[in-house]
Structure formats: structure tokens, C-alpha cells
């Protein structure tokens, strides 16, 4: 105590006692009175008794209680109980980035705490104090210069802010294991960290090492395989197809049966485990892995700001100097301003108008192609391959602006937040396929145009020899006992003459068409500048047109054959003395009269002997029809390959397979052989590596497998064979079923014109004009002003000062 204050105190006490002398004397009298009446001795006695009681009873009881608490800790309070339960079978899980520094330098772990014993390390900051990092996280210093609002990415990760998880390689070893503040040791010889967790804490530890996916390279992790097709189509295959319905019904029944089995399995499950917090957080952790690269980048950029005082606001003189430095930048800015405000919007507007005009024209053509006389009738695109091809191309053109806008939106936010990676792959796949198509088409088209006369003569010759002359020769051969088979001469001649007559007529028609053929070929050649798919689809349509007579022959002969077969079957029943009961759908016995039986048997014999003749003709035309169908199927396969081949995805798979995730896998590291940190006197630890599986090729070509399956189900089913044998009409597979493959990358409902217009106009001034300005300006101010505030649109001079002032204000506040 200071001597001066001692003197003051002394003077004060002396003055007080002299002023209040009567109080002092009264206190003295009270003391004398108490001594006389034995108050002091009684108080001393009480003190002694209380002390003896304390030493004899209270102290032993306290010792016993402490001992009991130590031996049976569960009895001591609710919170203690919980911690103990976790301790006994606790599993500590740490996700650790593989690019974290491994040296012996001290650092601070920053990341997410998903639950008490489940932490995710985003970054390891070196050369900073733990307390400063905590402070910086609370204030937000570490999130400065983030390109986009940091809260978006935090929301994605399921937390509001980053947390300090613990320290790496601390100077002083920790006293005990504390899950709230972990301690890890890293070693340059191993990629894995060693968690400080003594053996007697009864914990087990999982250290999971992950490679950060690079969001700017569009790498990401995903629990489920990436889907290359747009999954917005309803599964209504077989709706248009009577032959398909039976198969569909069977499949539905099978699915129903399986569903029942699954339900039964669910009922049989004995123990149902409620999912724990750690198990539920797996999808969130995958998101955190995906976001960790960008968060780490932001934090590492700001590590230098930790612990240092923030800059004060610029003084007036400094501002003057800075603005003078900025002068040249402002000139550039002015030029940029003129460019963006006057030139760019006009061009953009014109472009948007052009797009809309194109969209309107496309919409009209699409409507024409999709027009049906009645709801059940076939539209033009269901009949013709060319119409279908035009339809696909136009729909792609309609979808591209929407896709592009979706992809542009990606730029306005963090790279790792977006869900549009499959969209990106689809967009560039279709662009690339169209480009490929056009390149192949130009090669093909130039060949066809240069040799149009030769190609036309070849086409004419082939069609003549196969579909007219060949068929004529075949029919003539059938008319005169083919292969020694004695057919009924009269019927064979009748049928043959009939077909020959039609063929002659058709040949006449073809002869009148022949002069136009080089023109048609020329047209096909020119059309191929729109892509190789156009000549292929046109050729496919040409084949169907030029073989129309074979189709009609097939239908006619199939009809005759079918009639004859059904008549023979019913007459056979009569021959046996039976009859078909339509009401009960069975065969009944029947008493026929003699004349009925006689006539029926004669007719049966007649028809039976005529059957081979009809059958031979039917077989000829049916096989011709099948050949044409297979030719068209081959052409359609070529179309499908040109329109839908997953070329871009295949290239990505080779170039960077992490862009096509097909799930995740965990690799358990063998502690006996791998180079892992030593773990003596430490809790049992397993070291696991989290990896991404690339999408398997089977999944990439899934659509093709589905198409093959559908074709097989349609054409190789017993029903179809029965149809062929009995002469019933084999329904061709509906184009819509066949081509769902080609529409799998297009949305089920295309966006309307007005929708496109609103999207284009609302986006027009935003990311197109504004984003470039923002980027240009952001780059300039970024190096001088340290404001982490988001900048949007044109920031004028005054606004700029305002922002800077705000920055200064922020600095003072913190």
C-alpha cells in the first residue's frame, strides 16, 4: 500500500475516533460486560464442540462419498451418466483431408462438428494461436474476400459457422482426452494424423481420409450414381402397343409379387435399430466433402489476417493518393462502361429476339409434326423417321437456351453448391453429338452430291433387282412346282398372276418416278448438311415408300393364310364330331347330320390340300417383310448412335473419372503393413480412405441395354412367333417405344415461348451484362479495398466510397 494512503487512513481513523468518542466508550463497556457474564468462554466451547463433530463425522462421510463416486461414477448426476455411456462404447470419427500439411509444425484444426464424437476437418491452419482463430471465426475475419456469400455454402453443409475442433502438434502435451478440443499429431512419414486418445478412455477411433474433390474441375462425390438421362418421364411403355400389353401386365404382376415379398421381409425383421446421429449425417458429410475445397481456399487466403489488427479507415490524404493511382483504372472503367451499357445490350437484345423468332418457327413445325386427327391416331412423327428426326433436333434446339441459362446460374454461386453437373454433361454431349453429326453429314453430303447420278442409278438398280425383278422371278418360280413341291397349279397360277399384275403396275409407277430419282438423291445430299442423321432417316423413309407393295402383299397373303387356317381348324372340329362353344369358350361334342358331316369333310380336305400353296406365298412375303424390318432396324440403330451416343461422358470417364461419380467406397488400411502412425498406448484406431467410384460403363450405356431389352421382348416373344405362324398381323414396335431412348436427354414438356422469353429477358441484364461488369470491377477493387461485401451490378464512384467507408467502420467496430 502506498505510504501516502496509509497516512491518510491513519488521519481518518484518528479523526473519526475523536469525533465519535462516545461510540468507542460504549463498545468498551459492552466488551467488559460480555467478559463478566462468560460469553467468551461459552463461544470458545461451542467452537471446540463443532470442530470435533466436523472431524469425527463430516470428513469421513465426504471421503467415503468421493470413493464411491470414483468407484461407481454412474451414480453421480445425469450429465455425468451420459458422458460415461458414450465413453464406454464411444466411437470417435474424424474426417481428415488428404492434402492437410503433414509436417511437425503446430496448427489449428477448423471444421464442422456433426455430433459430439463426429468431426469433419475442413482446414488445418498453421502458425496461428487457437484463441485467435476462435475469435476470427466469431467475428468473420476468416471469411473475407469470399467470392459469394459464405452463408450459402454453410447452409449447404448444415451448420451456421465453422468451429475450432482442436490443435495439431501442440507444444505442451494435453492432460486428458477432451472430445470438444481434440489433439492430433501429424508426421511427415504418414498421410494419416494420430489422434491423442489414451487407451484407458475406452474409445475407438475411425480416421477417414478423403481427397477433396475439385469443384472448379467439376469433381464431386455422390452416394448414388450420376444419372445421364433426364428422369422426368413416366414409365408408360406399351400404352400404344397392343402386343406389348401382355408383357407389361406380366411385369406389373411380377413387380407386385416382389413388393409383397419385400413387405414380408420387413415384417420379419427382428430388431429394428433407430438410426443414430452419426449414421444419419452421412449425406451431409458427403456435402461437406464436396464443399471443403472452396471453404478451405477462402480460409487459407485469410490466415494472414488472424491476430493482426484490422486496418483502420483510409484518411482523406490516403484516399486522394489512392484515387490518383486509380485514375488509369477509371479511364478503362469508363470505356468498359460504354461498351457494356451501349454496345452489349443492343447485341444481346438482337440475339434474344433471334432466339425467340427461331423458337416460334420451331414451335410451329413441332405442332405440325405432333398434330393428330384424333387422339388415338398416329402423328406424323410416329410414322416417318424424318419427321421424328426433325422433331428431335428442334426439341434439342428449344431446350438448349434453357439448359444454357441453368448452367449460367451456376456461376452466380459457389461451385460446389450446384446440382447441375449432369445437366452440363447432357448439354455438352448433345452439342458435341450435333457437331459430330454435322461433320459426318458434310462428308456424306458432299460425296452424294458429287456422285448423285451414280448414286441414283445404284439405288434404282438395287431397288429394281430386289423389290421388283427379284420378286417377279420368285413368284414365277413359285407358280411352277418350286423345288419339286407339287402345289395346286390353278391356285398358284391365280395367286401368282394376281401378285404379278400388281407388281407390273407398281413397276410402271416406278418408271414414271425414275427421272425424278437423281433430284431426290440430290435433295438427300443437300439435307445431309444438317447432319448425317437426315440422309439416314430420309433413306429409311424412302425404303418404306418404295417397298409399299411388299407390305401390301404381306398383309394380303397373311389375311388369306389366316382365314384358311381358321376355317381348317373349325372344320377339323366338325370332322371329329365336335364344335366350339363360344359362350363357354370350350370344345363341346355335337351331333352333326350326315350331309353336314359330308360337306364339311369334303371342304376340309379341299382346304387342307390348298394350304401348302397359300403357305408358300405367305412365307415368301413374310420373309421379305422381315428383311425390310431388319434393314430399317439397322438404320434406326445408326440414328440412335448418332443422336444419343454418350460420347462426352465416355471422354470424361477417360479424362477425369471423378467427374462421373458412381458412388463411394471405403478402403480399410491394414495397420500391419501400411505406413501408419504408431499407436502404442493409444485407443484402437482404424484408418480408412474414402474414394469415389467412377461410373461403370454398364450404367453409361444403360439406355441402350434398355432399348435392346425392349426390342427383344417385342420381337422374340412367343406371341410374335405365334402371330407369324398363324398368319396374324405382326404389329411393328411403336416408334414411340423405340425412340424413348432418343428422348431420354430431353424434358418431357418443353418450355413455352413466353417462359423462354421471360427467362431470357430477366436473365439478360443480370448475369450477361452485369456479371461481366461485376467481374471486371471486382478484380480491380479487390486488390485495394478489402471489403468482403458482395458487389452486385454497376458500382458507381460514390457507391464505392460508401463501401469503403463501411469497411473502415467495420474495422473500427472489430
Amino acid at each position: 500500500m502506498h505510504s501516502f494512503s496509509i497516512v491518510t487512513l491513519g488521519i481518518f481513523i484518528a479523526g473519526y475516533t475523536t469525533a465519535r468518542w462516545d461510540l468507542v466508550t460504549r463498545l468498551y463497556e459492552l466488551a467488559i460486560f460480555a467478559w463478566d457474564h462468560g460469553v467468551v468462554t461459552r463461544a470458545a466451547k461451542g467452537f471446540v464442540i463443532l470442530s470435533i463433530f466436523f472431524f469425527l463425522f463430516i470428513l469421513p462421510i465426504e471421503r467415503i462419498a468421493a470413493q464411491e463416486t470414483f468407484l461407481h461414477p454412474r451414480t453421480a448426476g445425469a450429465e455425468e451418466h451420459y458422458v460415461d455411456m458414450v465413453m464406454n462404447n464411444g466411437l470417435m470419427r474424424i474426417f481428415w483431408p488428404s492434402d492437410a500439411p503433414t509436417g511437425p509444425h503446430p496448427g489449428v484444426m477448423v471444421g464442422w462438428r456433426n455430433s459430439e464424437l463426429d468431426v469433419f476437418v475442413v482446414a488445418v491452419l498453421q502458425g496461428v494461436e487457437l484463441r485467435n482463430v476462435e475469435n476470427a471465426l466469431r467475428v468473420g475475419t476468416l471469411y473475407r474476400h469470399s467470392p459469394h456469400p459464405i452463408s450459402h455454402i454453410f447452409e449447404r453443409c448444415g451448420h451456421t459457422s465453422l468451429q475450432v475442433l482442436g490443435s495439431v502438434n501442440p507444444q505442451s502435451p494435453p492432460e486428458r482426452f477432451n472430445p470438444a478440443l481434440l489433439v492430433t499429431y501429424t508426421n511427415a512419414s504418414s498421410r494419416f494424423p494420430r489422434l491423442y486418445c489414451p487407451y484407458d478412455s475406452n474409445m475407438t477411433v475411425q480416421v477417414i481420409l478423403f481427397d477433396r474433390p475439385h469443384p472448379t474441375r467439376m469433381q464431386y462425390l455422390s452416394l448414388s450414381p450420376i444419372s445421364l438421362a433426364l428422369g422426368d418421364k413416366l414409365e408408360n411403355v406399351g400404352k400404344w402397343d397392343p402386343a406389348f400389353e401382355g408383357i407389361e401386365v406380366e411385369e406389373a404382376e411380377e413387380r407386385e409379387r416382389k413388393k409383397k415379398l419385400v413387405e414380408k421381409l420387413r415384417l420379419h425383421t427382428v430388431v429394428m435399430h433407430p438410426p443414430s446421429q452419426k449414421e444419419l449425417s452421412l449425406p451431409k458429410i458427403i456435402d461437406q466433402v464436396n464443399c471443403s475445397f472452396e471453404i478451405d481456399a477462402v480460409i487459407q487466403k485469410n490466415v494472414g489476417l488472424i491476430g493482426t489488427r484490422l486496418r483502420r479507415a483510409l484518411s482523406v490524404s490516403e484516399r486522394v493518393v489512392e484515387s490518383a493511382n486509380d485514375l488509369w483504372d477509371y479511364v478503362l472503367l469508363g470505356l468498359w462502361y460504354i461498351g457494356t451499357v451501349w454496345v452489349y445490350p443492343v447485341i444481346a437484345k438482337l440475339f434474344v429476339l433471334g432466339l425467340i423468332a427461331h423458337r416460334v418457327a420451331g414451335e410451329m413445325i413441332l405442332r405440325v409434326l405432333d398434330w393428330r386427327i384424333s387422339p388415338d391416331a398416329a402423328a406424323l412423327k410416329d410414322v416417318s423417321a424424318t419427321a421424328q428426326q426433325v422433331d428431335i433436333r428442334l426439341q434439342q434446339f428449344c431446350y438448349w437456351p434453357i439448359q444454357y441459362l441453368t448452367l449460367r446460374k451456376r456461376k452466380g454461386n459457389w461451385e460446389s453448391i450446384t446440382n447441375s453437373h449432369p445437366e452440363y454433361i447432357r448439354f455438352y454431349n448433345s452439342l458435341w453429338l450435333v457437331a459430330n453429326d454435322v461433320i459426318i453429314g458434310i462428308a456424306l453430303g458432299s460425296y452424294i452430291i458429287e456422285n448423285s447420278v451414280f448414286v441414283a442409278s445404284q439405288v434404282d438398280k438395287i431397288f429394281n433387282t430386289w423389290s421388283i425383278e427379284g420378286l417377279r422371278r420368285m413368284i414365277s418360280w413359285l407358280m411352277e412346282w418350286p423345288g419339286g413341291l407339287k402345289l395346286n397349279t390353278e391356285l398358284a397360277e391365280f395367286l401368282g398372276d394376281l401378285f404379278l399384275w400388281v407388281i407390273d403396275h407398281w413397276a410402271g409407277c416406278m418408271a414414271t418416278l425414275r427421272p425424278f430419282l437423281p433430284g431426290i438423291i440430290h435433295f438427300i445430299g443437300f439435307s445431309s448438311f444438317a447432319g448425317a442423321t437426315m440422309p439416314i432417316s430420309l433413306f429409311s423413309d424412302l425404303v418404306s415408300l418404295l417397298t409399299l407393295h411388299i407390305y401390301s402383299f404381306y398383309i394380303a397373303s397373311a389375311r388369306i393364310f389366316n382365314w384358311q387356317l381358321t376355317i381348317i381348324i373349325s372344320l377339323f372340329h366338325l370332322f371329329r364330331g365336335k364344335k366350339r362353344n363360344v359362350l363357354r369358350n370350350r370344345i363341346d361334342s355335337c351331333d352333326y347330320d350326315l350331309d353336314q358331316l359330308l360337306l364339311g369333310t369334303i371342304l376340309f380336305t379341299l382346304l387342307f390340300f390348298l394350304l401348302p400353296t397359300v403357305c408358300v406365298f405367305y412365307l415368301t412375303f413374310a420373309s421379305a417383310r422381315m428383311a425390310i424390318i431388319s434393314l430399317k432396324a439397322a438404320l434406326d440403330t445408326m440414328l440412335a448412335c448418332l443422336n444419343h451416343f454418350p460420347l462426352f461422358a465416355l471422354m470424361l470417364r477417360i479424362k477425369d473419372s471423378r467427374r462421373l461419380p458412381g458412388g463411394i467406397r471405403f478402403d480399410l488400411q491394414d495397420t500391419r503393413s501400411a505406413r501408419l502412425p504408431e499407436q502404442s498406448h493409444s485407443a484402437p484406431t482404424s484408418y480408412i480412405i474414402l474414394k469415389s467410384i467412377p461410373l461403370p460403363l454398364r450404367a453409361m450405356f444403360n439406355e441402350y441395354f434398355e432399348l435392346g431389352n425392349r426390342l427383344r421382348k417385342h420381337y422374340l416373344s412367343p406371341g410374335v412367333f405365334l402371330c407369324l405362324v398363324t398368319g396374324r398381323f405382326v404389329p411393328p414396335i411403336h416408334r414411340k417405344n423405340l425412340y424413348s431412348l432418343q428422348y431420354s436427354m430431353l424434358p418431357a414438356r418443353r418450355a413455352g415461348i413466353f417462359e423462354l422469353w421471360t427467362k431470357l429477358t430477366e436473365q439478360g441484364p443480370g448475369p450477361t451484362g452485369g456479371a461481366s461488369t461485376m467481374n471486371g470491377y471486382g478484380g480491380m477493387t479487390g486488390k485495394k479495398a478489402n471489403n468482403g461485401l458482395p458487389r452486385r451490378g454497376h458500382v458507381g464512384h460514390t457507391k464505392n466510397w460508401g463501401v469503403r467507408g463501411k469497411d473502415g467502420f467495420l474495422g473500427i467496430q472489430t
Binding site: N89, L91, R93, D118, T204, V205, Q206, L223, R255, K258, K259, V262, L265, R266, H268, T269, V270, V271, H273, P275, S276, K278, E279, L280, L282, G663, I664, R665, F666, L668, D670, T671, P684, T685, S686, Y687, I688, I693, P696
Partner: protein, 223 residues
């Protein structure tokens, strides 16, 4: 007779359990023979050596045939490529390769070489494993038939695992036990060790281990 029986009998399956912590277990069923005695070990290394030599021989024959059919045009004596070619083909082994490849036709050489390469790359054994990570899920994996591709794995998160059980099924003319995982929302169960289908004794061990490890917070539930 004994040799015949050894060839025709199915390969012996061995179960390896690796359990670094109570919360992480990996079960591996493999038909890979583990060489224990010295001759077996020598034979093992010898087979690897033979494989490598055969593979190099097939590639060398193909390359020699290619060079003989399409010799390098232009400046023959210049260029590193040409020098390398002359050096390799000039050596005694190269001369032998040249002699063999000139005698063999393309149509014999290509399928033969491809067949040898295919045989060299064959793994010759199957290894299937089940990795149980408590708090994360279960991962099944099956090794690929060749050395060229990696194992196919499937990870099932714990939240979507409904049940694990052992059941029996007909396979051909025999009845086999199998360990299956029921995944929520899927029609088909996932069969663990689908190719090897080990014996019931192994399956029971795996089943007990997996059940005990998968759900960490209920260590005392009755199963």
C-alpha cells in the same frame, strides 16, 4: 486319381478377418492359395515369372511381326526409333522372334497372342470381402477376373440397411446358404459373397460379426 480329384474339387475357401477396432471389421473370403512351404512358395514365384515372360514374348512377337510387315520408311539409319528397332531385332532373342514371326501367319499370330495375353492377365482366384464400418455402413466387394480392372464394390449406408440374414437357395442341383442384406426401397436383396457362396460355418461367423459391429449403440441387444 488323386490329382484328378484335386483338379475337379472346388477350390478351398479361406476366411480372413481383420479387426483393427471393435467398430471396424473386414471379412475376406478367398480362394487364393497361400503358399506356406518352401517348394510351394518357390512355385508361386516361378509362376509369376513365367507369366511375365509369356506376356513379354507375346507382345514381342506381335511387335516383330508388325515391324517386318511395315518397315520404317525414310531415313532408316537416322532416328532413335529405327536404331532401337535394329538393335532389338539384331540381338539373338530378336532374331529368334523374327524367325518365329515370319513363319507364323497373321491370322494365327493375332488370336494366339491375344489368348496368351488374356491368360497372363487372368487372376486365377476370386476374392470377395465384406467391410463393416459402424456408423457408416457396409461395403461388399468382389475382385475382378483379370489384373487389369479393379474390384467392383457396393457401399450401403447403415440407414438404408433393413436386415441381414442367412438363408438357403437352390443353385443348380444343390442347396446353398447365402448371406443377404435387405436394402430399404429395393426389390432385390444384396447377396454377400455372390460368386463364392461360402459354407454355413463361415457365413455364421461373418453374420455374427457384422451384426455385432454394425449397430454400435446397442451392444447388449439380443442376437
Amino acid at each position: 486319381m488323386q490329382i484328378f480329384a484335386r483338379i475337379t474339387s472346388p477350390a478351398t475357401q479361406s476366411l480372413t478377418t481383420y479387426r483393427p477396432t471393435p467398430s471396424t471389421i473386414s471379412f475376406t473370403v478367398s480362394t487364393r492359395p497361400v503358399p506356406r512351404t518352401l517348394p510351394a512358395r518357390l512355385l508361386f514365384y516361378l509362376s509369376i515369372l513365367v507369366r511375365i515372360i509369356l506376356g513379354i514374348l507375346a507382345l514381342a512377337l506381335l511387335w516383330a511381326k508388325w515391324r517386318i510387315t511395315f518397315p520404317i520408311e525414310g531415313d532408316i539409319s537416322k532416328g532413335v526409333r529405327a536404331e532401337l528397332t535394329t538393335w532389338v531385332l539384331g540381338s539373338s532373342a530378336g532374331q529368334a522372334a523374327t524367325r518365329i514371326s515370319t513363319r507364323l501367319q497373321w491370322r494365327l499370330l493375332i488370336p494366339g497372342a491375344l489368348g496368351v495375353l488374356w491368360g497372363v492377365c487372368r487372376r486365377g482366384y476370386t476374392e470377395e470381402s465384406l467391410l463393416v464400418l459402424s456408423g457408416l455402413g457396409i461395403q461388399t466387394s468382389t475382385s475382378s477376373p483379370t489384373y487389369l480392372s479393379t474390384a467392383t464394390t457396393r457401399f450401403i449406408p447403415t440407414t438404408s440397411i433393413q436386415d441381414i440374414f442367412i438363408h438357403e437357395a437352390f443353385k443348380g442341383f444343390e442347396v446353398r446358404f447365402y448371406l443377404a442384406i435387405v436394402v430399404q426401397g429395393e426389390e432385390d436383396v444384396v447377396v454377400v459373397f455372390p460368386n463364392l457362396l461360402p459354407r454355413r460355418r463361415i457365413l455364421e461367423e461373418v453374420w455374427r460379426g457384422a451384426r455385432a459391429c454394425l449397430h454400435e449403440l446397442q451392444p447388449k441387444s439380443k442376437f
